[in-house]
Subunit: 126 residues, 2 copies
DNA sequence: TATTTTACTGCAACAAAGTTGCGTTAAGCT
DNA sequence: AGCTTAACGCAACTTTGTTGCAGTAAAATA
């Protein structure tokens, strides 16, 4: 197991999630941190932070991995199912603070749901 | 543009979608057809069939691409939003014939939704 | 049916995202 | 300061998917 240490790399990476409510592509994080740390390190820190419930990840419609800061998640309780939204114009991805109603389907016991919405955000549709 | 020809390869690939309602991983199709055709061919046929509205694709929670046969889609009208379900036990992915209610979110104009559900199917939960 | 057109296929090489092994570094403890 | 061990960097690798080009085979035309 082991306890996550607050190294320079971890602090730096976490700081990138602060000033925004948007999700960030893992690939973009790696590009942005190119001079400061190795891509392996980025992936490993993201893994650890996710396991501790500090951030959460999801896969976009192109198969790329996104990360965003959790609001009210912990390592035990990580199942707040909220949809993610991507604007077709500015490409930004945001977590929507909306409760998703999981449909009840006969013959299927649904335990989790990943909802990825696509459309136009307010700034791009005006 | 060009019109899709019904070549041997196309017929063979399409036949794999017949006997099942389940979705198929692109990677699995390639493995299954290894002796009969090149992986480039598989990807290209899948692309064409999707453009024509004969099959549709989506990305699973692991980032891999799935394909399934459409029921009631055409090249013009491809927007029947139905959820996809993966059983955590048998790993099968199926299209659920359920209408998804897209939530109305302020400041966001939602045009499309990808819903990926995870849980237990009937055969695996009994 | 022979010819011509053009969509389709195979191959090899490539691209990009993400992983693994291992030797080294540095955080946190006493 | 010294010790333990988590964390890091590097290089090499794996996997999925793409691209360019030369050759093949459908389908259209005559």
């Amino acid at each position: 197991m082991g306890i996550t240490r607050k190294t320079k790399a971890v602090k730096k990476l976490l700081s990138l999630f602060e000033p925004t409510v948007s999700a960030i592509l893992a690939v973009d994080l790696i590009a942005q941190l190119k001079e400061e740390m190795n891509k392996t390190t980025v992936y490993r820190i993201l893994d650890r932070l996710e396991n501790e419930g500090i951030i959460h990840s999801f896969v976009g419609s192109d198969g790329l991995k996104w990360y965003a800061k959790c609001t009210g998640c912990s390592s035990n309780n990580h199942n707040d199912i909220h949809p993610h939204f991507q604007c077709t114009n500015c490409k930004k991805v945001t977590c929507l603070p909306v409760e998703i109603k999981i449909p009840i389907v006969e013959n299927y016991t649904i335990e989790n749901a990943a909802v990825f919405l696509v459309g136009k955000c307010n700034e791009c549709s005006s």
